[in-house]
Symmetry: C2
Amino acid sequence: MIPKGFRLASVAAGLRYHDRQDLGLIVSTPFHGAAGVFTLNLCQAAPVVWSKARVQSGRAILVNAGQANAQTGEQGHKDCRKMAKSLSKLLNLFPDDILLASTGIIGQPINMAALEKALPELVDSLSPEGEEGFSRSILTTDTTPKTAYARISLAPGFKATIWGCAKGSGMIAPNLATFLGFILTDAPASVELMQNLLREGAEATFNRVTIDGDTSTNDSLFLLSSGAAVTSPFSSGVKAKAFERGLMKVLESLARSLVLDGEGATRLVEIAVKGALDDRQAKLAAMTVAQSPLVKTAFFGCDPNWGRVLAALGRSGATFDPYRVDLNLNKIPWVRNGMDNGREKEVNEAMSLREYRLTINLNVGKAVYTTLTCDFSPQYVTINSSYRS
Amino acid sequence: MIPKGFRLASVAAGLRYHDRQDLGLIVSTPFHGAAGVFTLNLCQAAPVVWSKARVQSGRAILVNAGQANAQTGEQGHKDCRKMAKSLSKLLNLFPDDILLASTGIIGQPINMAALEKALPELVDSLSPEGEEGFSRSILTTDTTPKTAYARISLAPGFKATIWGCAKGSGMIAPNLATFLGFILTDAPASVELMQNLLREGAEATFNRVTIDGDTSTNDSLFLLSSGAAVTSPFSSGVKAKAFERGLMKVLESLARSLVLDGEGATRLVEIAVKGALDDRQAKLAAMTVAQSPLVKTAFFGCDPNWGRVLAALGRSGATFDPYRVDLNLNKIPWVRNGMDNGREKEVNEAMSLREYRLTINLNVGKAVYTTLTCDFSPQYVTINSSYRS
């Protein structure tokens, strides 16, 4: 299933969890190139600082779940250097070839003794069939591994693969817990193309389920190419277009999986704002509705309480006439000209579906913005209130 | 207990609730003057539009709980005129002397037949001892009435009273449900003084438990003076100072009661940001922490997970060095230079108190901002997810 040229591994290192694997490894041999996008949070974890500085040379990624290695000071940076050095020896690489990603509790250093002890077994278990174990080893409060896959045709008879794996959880917007994403491909796309597409793709997918900059200390998204697909390297043209489509498909699929696996989430709601005055206002309106706890609890309760949507729009900062707003739930004309349209029963039924779409037409301009959100259940609070969840 | 010159009343009009009073009335005789501050939401309820236009002449206030009369179009405005007209006849006043306030479900018109039927009984039951019934009649999901009281000395031997009553609930920040506040005094303060002090007082108290503009469709705060205290009218000087102190005491007390009665709230947390670069950044930092669902669920669970505070600060937009931040919980030095200070057990114990203070020193400037927030319990979601809560 995973692209040619990659091997994955995972072990139970006992870093925090004692009943599951919590250390994962990706190695690309051969290696063609790598790209990455990282958190905009002012508090950046040590592995983020490490990986940003050397992302293009990264032919291997070591990931631990349990400790974030964030706000750990000089010790955190020292541990990164030590991990990279130890692993590089075992892989016969340079320390700068190793990228790092961590997820877990902020302020806690990694149990380096346990990690170093586990490295030889981790390297020994590298396998082209390691994706199932790897995708589980990176989880924290996630309930299920999230993977996606695309086959693309680069030329007649020449196919390549894009495979992705992510962890997320947290209540997505407005408070994404650590998001880690790993996209692997054997298509020999140029590093510049990969970096541009990854940045644009993240903006159009993952960044739509959170707000700009509203990221955790550790968020990292990597794209590695082994270049092992039998075709010539490319940076533009037909191959680049096919690659872009495949990458977008994988990113979109992972973004949806993240929302559906939001802590305690029972519903996925696409919120589409239309007819806004400009792009900024379209986004403000969509994000304010998508993040409103009152709207999200109404989603949980299948409560067709459209007043909460109007109230959120009214405080969003977007300009509109409250008596010209239309709301559709799926295709049901729920609200017309800012007032009830007598479809309460139908809307209540549609809200009991696992996925639905809320369309908001502000009827004041032409700008649009779409975001994904989940509902807000009592389970979310229970998950996050436990001691050091 | 209530100031001289006021009578209050409440009845069970059956507008929405069938087992309790849901219609309240305040009348000032004599009447000295009135002031008001209202929601900044773009979607303003019909009673808000009505009351803003004639606040200074308002010697009576009619309040209903159950329907917000928001997004009800021309019908909503018509109903306001009708209510004011009917009530003014019974009180021998002009319609413009009547202020209106509504709380409840957006999009639902008021049951006018039931309301009009209840008005004569409401007027008949006006009493200087009506405050207990009134303060209960305005509640929605609030669990308890919220009142506050101050005696002020305007001159040697001349005392006056300030009494206030409010309803709030909702999760306070970031999504205040309808906030209504009624402050009554017999001190003959000038209308200009009352309006200025009310605006400043709201900014320093109620607006600190939410965000600017982050208000519901119906939020309204009124200050009425009967002028019945035996002293000459004032607009400045020593009397104004005494009046300001008393008013602030009442507003502060009501703001704290609102937070403590936030839906499902079990804890009141004061968040004080110090050492920010400027006022805007101090507020951004405090509000981002105060609204973070991850921080608020940690408050609920007494979880000394300071990384969530740092992560919220890091995405707030405030400028600081993550390794110069200090956190105190009450007086316990919880975090020093952005890192753990080994006080987990003490902090965990302090977090089990009903009220505590989190002090955040960004150590980069001199600006300060303080806000109040509550924790986030599973009960909040349960309350808000029920059908048309």
